[in-house]
């Protein structure tokens, strides 16, 4: 098989879902003949003309429509053009999709694709990470694939799930991340389970989405300095696999949680809180967090590079952690 990219995997998953499951349809702006702003649905409309539908610019109604369709037994995939624009569909996501099963016993199995995260020059409204905001609300499942194989299999799993899923795909990984295969049955894990992507013994770095790769590069760098850093890829932020993290911290005694999101609250604070609660006595040093800065995501690449965690800042944070 040829090389496949992360975005290929997203497209292939949607292709395979449309092919194998008549309940699946795709709804979003420009997802039809145009193939979507990032080409994640390229060619799908010509194969499944009825089930790949261009929506008006109406994020609130797009999610409402998806919930309605799911009540009738469909499995909609809604593409947000950028995660940032889901802010306009926020109410329908958290209050309509998130509460329906609890309130009525009827599930709302929708999948909302959120092209997330920063790329240089994208600025405050085309760069946001929104997993923490949605994870706050009951009833939602939030996944953050960091590999090509996870991009594929977690999208398939998300659609299979009876609950509403926010599928946070990272735009930076779209074409940058490549693999020689689309999925890997041996390595496949269910939603809700984290993966140790690099074994180590001196410290645990927990990351998700694009930050997994920065963390791995930092671990490489630290390896040259003689440190063995364990890297955990969360894969889903809700449910959050506390057990795997705590087990890792049990081995290393040290924790750094890395996220590309804004620093207040969110995934890294949830991780640190859980680990200090469940694994306090395992910790040899205060657990650390590294997030983006507490400003909107800046437009200029110079500022953007300094806004989010990078290989360098992660490496520095690990070195600091090892000294504590």
């Amino acid at each position: 098989m040829e090389e496949v990219t992360y975005i290929d995997a997203i497209r292939e998953a949607q292709h395979d879902l449309l092919a194998s499951d008549e309940r699946v349809f795709i709804y979003g702006q420009d997802v039809g003949d145009f193939g979507g702003a990032f080409k994640a649905t390229q060619g799908l409309k010509s194969l499944y003309p009825d089930r790949v539908i261009d929506s008006p610019i109406s994020e609130d109604a797009m999610i409402g429509l998806a919930v309605g369709a799911s009540i009738e037994g469909m499995r909609p995939i809604v593409e947000m053009q950028f995660a940032d624009f889901s802010s306009v569909g926020f109410n329908q996501i958290v209050n309509q999709a998130g509460t329906q099963f609890y309130r009525t016993g009827v599930p709302a199995p929708i999948t909302v694709r959120l092209p997330s995260g920063g790329t240089p020059g994208s600025g405050p409204f085309h760069s946001q990470m929104m997993e923490s905001v949605y994870a706050y609300y009951p009833g939602l499942v939030i996944v953050t694939p960091a590999t090509v194989a996870d991009a594929y299999s977690m999208l398939v799993d998300a659609v299979a799930l009876d609950d509403p899923v926010l599928y946070c795909e990272h735009k930076f990984l779209y074409r940058w991340l490549k693999s020689d295969r689309l999925s890997d049955d041996d390595e496949k894990l269910p939603i809700g389970q984290a993966r140790i992507v690099r074994a180590g013994k001196h410290a645990t770095v927990v990351a998700y989405s694009a930050m997994v790769h920065e963390a791995l590069r930092a671990a490489d760098l630290l390896a040259e300095e003689g440190w063995e850093i364990e890297v955990v890829d969360l894969r889903s932020v809700k449910p959050l696999d506390t057990d795997t993290i705590v087990a890792s911290v049990a081995r290393t005694g040290r924790l750094l949680a890395v996220g590309e999101a804004f620093p207040w609250g969110g995934v890294t604070s949830e991780i640190v809180s859980r680990v200090t609660n469940d694994g306090f006595h395992l910790l040899d040093a205060p657990p650390q967090r590294l997030n983006s800065r507490d400003t909107p995501v800046p437009y200029h690449p110079n500022l953007w590079e300094a806004h989010r965690p990078t290989l360098e800042s992660i490496a520095a944070a690990i070195r600091n952690l090892l000294r504590l």
């Binding site: 409402g64 369709a69 009738e72």
Partner: protein, 370 residues
């Protein structure tokens, strides 16, 4: 009347007599939607009678709920729809339970009953029975049976328009849309929401058989319509969505049923979304905690302030569609049903936080302690 109506619509109107479903103790039928045939024909007279009976039941039930509220027997708010029964029940009586879709809102007891929601759903919800449709997790007007075509509203106004549209779109994709209609209720206040706009516009783009019934009851809580919109009538919005619009005197059952039937028929026959604006006055406070004293006497005393129940009673008696004796028996029957539904809900257990499950996920494996 009947002939006139048939002339107005572009074909014979057929309805199902789903009176049975109103029966007190019957739980929501879980039959397959497809299994219900809908080609029984019903006369206009029978349709009117059926609609009016639902109005009586709704009014009786809501009066009871209001007194229970005053007696402190209900936790949380009570939101009733006196004055709106004719419009609401007309929607419900044009739809078939478990086949069509009804996005009921805040003042739709009439429509719920006419559509087929058992009145026990209401008493159980208000009185906190664990056997209610939400098991006590949600209350009052937020109840529903999504899988039977009655989605459970969230509070955010306008939000159900797109949900009903989505239910219809799904039917189309499944090849089950033929002859189906989805109705959704909104108020004058809800018309100012972005959700309303997006939902109706999207339905127009998809040409879905969605009937939006906008009941302009002159107030959104305390806010009069001149703080809500500036157009002559909200029916003018239809033009901007490229869909048919109808305006009707919502205090008038005959007119309301005729217009709503017409809109429903048009939608069923492929005419795409329809907007019906019904004008009337909310004859209660916003909720039972509100005395509505801000409503000016001029409006109360205007034609808008007529009570649709009185108008309907007069209309049906005049037309000879119902006798005084029948009316009396209907009212008595409604009172008995309501009494029994209240009694039953009151003797049922409340939810128990220690034994009830708390699951928020349909996939139990996702549950975690946090």
């Amino acid at each position: 009347m009947q002939r006139e109506f048939r002339d107005a619509s572009s074909g014979p109107v057929k309805h199902v007599a789903n009176r049975l479903l109103h029966a007190l103790n019957q739980d929501v039928p879980q039959v397959e939607r497809e299994s219900k045939s809908t080609d029984m024909s019903e006369t206009w007279e029978d349709h009117l009678r059926r609609t009016f009976r639902s109005m009586i039941t709704a009014r009786t039930l809501e009066s009871k709920l209001a007194s229970l509220y005053k007696a402190g027997k209900i936790v949380g708010g009570v939101y009733i729809g006196p004055g709106q029964e004719a419009v609401s029940a007309s929607i419900g009586s044009c739809l078939t339970w478990n086949r069509d879709i009804f996005g009921a809102l805040i003042r739709d007891q009439g429509g719920r009953t006419a559509f087929g929601e058992p009145i026990l759903d209401a008493t159980r919800s208000y009185l906190g029975s664990v056997k209610g449709p939400s098991k006590g997790r949600d209350g009052n007007i937020h109840r529903g049976h999504p899988a039977q075509g009655l989605p459970a509203m969230i509070s955010h106004l306008g939000a159900m328009v797109s949900v009903v549209a989505g239910m219809l779109l799904a039917r189309r994709l499944q090849g089950r849309l033929d002859g189906i209609v989805g109705a959704v209720s909104v108020g004058d206040g809800a018309s100012s929401t972005g959700s309303f706009h997006e939902g109706i516009n999207l339905a127009a783009v998809e040409r879905l058989p969605l009937v939006v019934v906008l009941t302009n009851n002159q107030f959104a809580y305390s806010t009069p319509t001149d703080r809500q919109f500036r157009c002559r009538s909200l029916v003018d919005r239809a033009i901007g969505y490229g869909i048919p619009g109808y305006e009707v005197d919502g205090t008038d059952l005959l007119a309301s049923l005729e217009v709503i039937s017409k809109a429903v028929t048009e939608a069923r026959q492929g005419g795409g979304p329809q907007l019906v604006v019904a004008n009337l006055l909310r004859l209660s406070g916003h909720g039972e905690h509100d005395d509505g004293s801000y409503v000016p006497d001029e409006i109360r005393n205007s034609a808008l302030g007529r009570d649709c129940m009185e108008v309907a009673e007069h209309q049906l008696l005049q037309a000879g569609f119902v006798t005084e004796a029948e009316l009396e028996s209907w009212k008595n029957e409604a009172a008995e049903q309501v009494q029994a539904a209240v009694a039953q809900a009151q003797q049922e257990p409340s939810p128990d936080p220690y034994t009830d499950d708390w699951s928020v996920y349909a996939s139990p494996e996702l549950a975690e302690d946090c």
